[in-house]
């Protein structure tokens, strides 16, 4: 049951390199009386990265849920991969979601399935032959360093391991946009680097657009200031050139609005007291 969105050539071209892939246009959302987002607008360009920072409860997860259509905004327009998602019903959203991968904040692994079944879930659902699915599952699990854990249940994993399985599950079906909700929180620095490198590689070598939500500035800066280069068969993670560094942008949320928007260097040099206290 593979659903491929039919696109006109004009739309296909408009969605080529350098084109917007996620657009928020004055999006507002309130839960009951509590306004979480107030007229938020931003644009993610294909193959680039947006990094969301902000205090707990500032609406970072909410933004990711809006992109993937799990929540609907009260007002405003959201475009994802050339489709409007804010006014779509659940059935139409399923098509948009084939190109979206999301790593949930707490992993959200299916308790009743093994690690391998979790990772291969979507591929199996789409009717890919079993052998091919298990090949791909082995590949992504090996990648994330959990090859031997394929037959475990999620309840038998540590928090960090669960997070890594969640990342494997989101990338298994090769979506064009990946949303990471605190993907590195709770990982040791080595593992966090591995995950960051993975985000960088997917972005630079596979043209995957990413939205990264994190509390950990170390990881935010690492993703923003490094790039992946292919050297023959080798893949190296190196400090990004000036042009590449421009492609990662930080957005800081505060009280429902965008408090700061800019690149890593802007963020480091900012004199804003709130930003300074957040950075220190």
């Amino acid at each position: 049951m593979t659903v491929t969105a039919e696109r006109s050539p004009a739309l296909e071209e408009a969605l080529g390199p350098g084109s917007p892939i996620v657009v928020f246009d004055r999006v507002s959302l309130a839960f009951d009386d509590k306004v979480v987002l107030r007229e938020i607008s931003f644009t993610l360009i294909k193959g680039q990265t947006k990094i969301f920072l902000g205090a707990s409860g500032s609406g970072k997860s909410t933004i990711l849920k809006l992109i993937i259509g799990l929540l609907k905004p009260d007002s405003g327009v959201i475009w994802v991969n050339g489709e409007r998602v804010d006014d779509k019903g659940e059935a139409d959203l399923m098509k948009v979601r084939t190109d979206l991968g999301m790593v949930f904040q707490e992993g959200a692994l299916f308790d009743s399935l093994t690690v391998a079944e979790n990772v291969g879930y979507k591929l199996l659902e789409e009717g890919m032959p079993d052998a091919q699915v298990w090949d791909r599952v082995g590949e992504v699990l090996g990648f994330i360093g959990l090859g031997e854990y394929a037959d475990r249940m999620p309840s038998e994993l540590s928090g960090g391991q669960r997070r890594r399985v969640a990342i494997a599950r989101a990338m298994a079906y090769k979506p064009r946009i990946l949303l990471y909700d605190e993907a590195t929180t709770g990982l040791d620095p080595m593992m966090a680097d591995t995950v960051d490198n993975e985000i960088i590689k997917l972005r630079d070598l596979e043209e995957i657009s990413s939205i990264v939500v994190t509390h950990q500035l170390r990881d935010a800066f690492r993703v923003a200031t490094h790039e992946a280069r292919r050297d023959g068969t080798d893949i190296r993670i190196v400090t990004a050139g000036a042009e590449k560094a421009e492609e990662a942008e930080f957005i800081m949320l505060k009280d429902g609005v965008i408090h700061f928007e800019g690149h890593a260097t802007d963020l480091r040099q900012s004199r804003d007291p709130y930003l300074r206290s957040f950075l220190s």
Partner: protein, 257 residues
């Protein structure tokens, strides 16, 4: 104060509306693909086989108690020999369906609410949607189907155990002969009773399944919320079982006799 009451009423209406929408969506999902056959089979096993023990025991002891009680009452009319008829008629028409449904509300309704509830608070329902699966088809339809179709089967089993228990009591305690008992059982049975005894649990099972799913899916507020949902599912399903049975009884009496 008024606004508090208003808010409560608004929330109640909204919840009923959501429930009706869920029921409508379940019917639609039942008649169109994709189907999750493996999940349906798993639920039939979990709900059907898993409830066998409780339901048999309930049936057995209810039948035994009924025989003891009615034996005494019937004596006053010198009609002790009719004990079989009383046990079978009251079990098949009324007690079998209602008691089985109450047991299922406690065992299955709560289980569904707890399972879906914990999936909801840990974002697993959201993850399903994000991965392109409709939770209604994957989770709700298999459970509702399993309870709805297993409830009549389990009711028949409860009835059977009750009638056998009644027979044991009659023979050992009331001095009613085996053949007298079984003749009374058969003579007291009308086709209408049998229909009533099958249709009622069908409807009650559907109520238990949909309430369990509805309450489970709406769960919020972490593990505490899951606890609340589980209790709510049992209470609401149990009360509804008795209420629906009350309204269904005169309706069925008119239709099936």
């Amino acid at each position: 104060m008024l606004s508090q009451a208003e808010r409560w009423i608004k929330a109640a209406i909204l919840e009923v509306q959501e429930f009706v929408q869920l029921v409508g969506a379940v019917f639609r999902a039942m008649v169109s693909p994709p189907y999750y056959r493996r999940d349906v089979i798993l639920q039939f096993e979990a709900i059907g086989i898993g409830s066998l023990m409780v339901v048999s025991l309930t049936g057995f002891f209810t039948g035994a108690a009924l025989a003891l009680q009615t034996g005494q009452t019937l004596d006053r009319f010198g009609a002790r020999t009719l004990v079989g008829q009383l046990v079978s008629a009251s079990m098949i028409r009324e007690l079998g369906p209602v008691l089985t449904a109450l047991m299922l509300a406690g065992r299955v309704g709560s289980g569904i609410a707890a399972e879906l509830g914990s999936m909801a608070v840990t974002d697993q329902i959201n993850a399903l949607r994000a991965l392109g699966t409709d939770p209604l088809r994957k989770l709700v339809v298999p459970r509702v189907l399993a309870v709805t179709l297993m409830a009549p089967v389990l009711t028949v089993i409860a009835d059977t155990f009750a009638i056998v228990a009644g027979w044991l009591i009659s023979v050992t305690n009331l001095g009613v002969g085996s053949s007298t008992y079984w003749t009374a059982v058969l003579e007291g049975l009308y086709l209408g009773d049998a229909w009533q005894g099958i249709i009622k649990p069908f409807v009650l099972g559907f109520v238990i399944g949909t309430i369990g799913c509805h309450v489970g899916l709406r769960t919020s507020g972490g593990t505490q919320g899951v606890g609340r949902s589980t209790t709510n599912a049992v209470v609401v399903a149990s009360v509804l079982v008795i209420a629906v049975d009350f309204f269904l009884t005169p309706l069925l009496m008119r239709v099936v006799y």
